[in-house]
């Protein structure tokens, strides 16, 4: 039976300095499961993309001087499954299906490449995106870590 062995909730202001903070915290939290360097790299990358979306897109309409939050919830299971939920209370995504297409971006066309969801999808084992206009977006990612013995091979 799948049971939760550890759980973490985190709330941070949506400012860019917190991109590396989120990666570091996730790395430390996952250490208990002794992931491979590659697995840890994959998770750090996926988290970085999701958090960056909150910072770049979610709160772009709020008045300057105000700052929204990023909410992160991570669960580790005895089955070596990691579930990571990253959400915001921002503007939401008008068309999730369209936003998830590779190279789609509403950001600055020459500096943002629109790869965020593609990277999250490619570097984790499951991705689920829920969004409501004016309410916010929730990204749920799952990663299945190899067993320790497998990892040593």
């Amino acid at each position: 039976m799948r049971t939760i062995i550890n759980e973490m909730k985190l709330r941070l202001p949506a400012i860019s300095v917190n991109e590396s903070v989120c990666r570091s915290v996730i790395s430390a939290f996952l250490a208990e499961l002794d992931p491979t360097v590659e697995e840890l790299g994959d998770v750090r990358l996926a988290v970085s993309e999701a958090v960056t979306n909150c910072i770049v897109h979610a709160y772009r309409d709020i008045p300057s001087g105000e700052c929204g939050n990023i909410y992160i919830s991570v669960r580790l299971y005895n089955t070596r499954e990691v579930s990571i939920e990253i959400s915001d209370n921002g503007c939401g995504i008008e068309n999730v299906e369209e936003a998830m297409k590779p190279m789609f971006t509403t950001g600055d066309g020459t500096e943002r490449c629109g790869m965020g969801f593609l990277v999250m999808e490619s570097f984790t084992d499951a991705l689920n995106v829920k969004s409501k206009r004016g309410k916010g977006t929730t990204v749920l990612m799952r990663k299945f870590l190899k067993s320790s013995a497998e990892g040593e091979k």
């Binding site: 590396s20 590659e38 994959d42 990358l45 993309e49 960056t52 500096e111 790869m115 990277v119």
Partner: protein
């Protein structure tokens, strides 16, 4: 090592990046490079990522953005030192198809 060091090597402008590349650090790196990119006689902008331990898609955006700027002066953007997931990310992005981008 500093986050980013910029130097001239003949007709090349070399940016040696020494930090993790995300949306936060990409802005600083971008400003440092763009401050020198319009200098006289630059035929090549070399982005050396050999000391980069982490990069997300902001790094791809950084390359695309520099390529767009460099293209106006006929400058080529060369990316070197890609390892592991950086290489995988670059391959996924298809940026090697940009005419003035060379992935080494």
């Amino acid at each position: 090592m500093k986050d980013c060091e910029i130097k001239r090597e003949g007709d090349a402008l070399v940016a040696m990046v020494g930090c993790e590349i995300d949306h936060h650090t990409a802005r600083v790196i971008r400003e440092m490079i763009d401050g020198k990119l319009a200098d006289q006689g630059i035929a090549c902008l070399r982005l050396d990522f050999s000391a980069v331990t982490f990069m997300d898609s902001s790094g791809i955006g950084l390359i695309i953005g520099r390529a767009a700027k460099a293209e106006k002066n006929g400058t080529v953007v060369e990316v070197t030192g890609l390892k592991g997931s950086l290489r995988r990310l670059v391959r996924m992005s298809g940026i090697e198809k940009i005419p003035n981008v060379r992935i080494k």
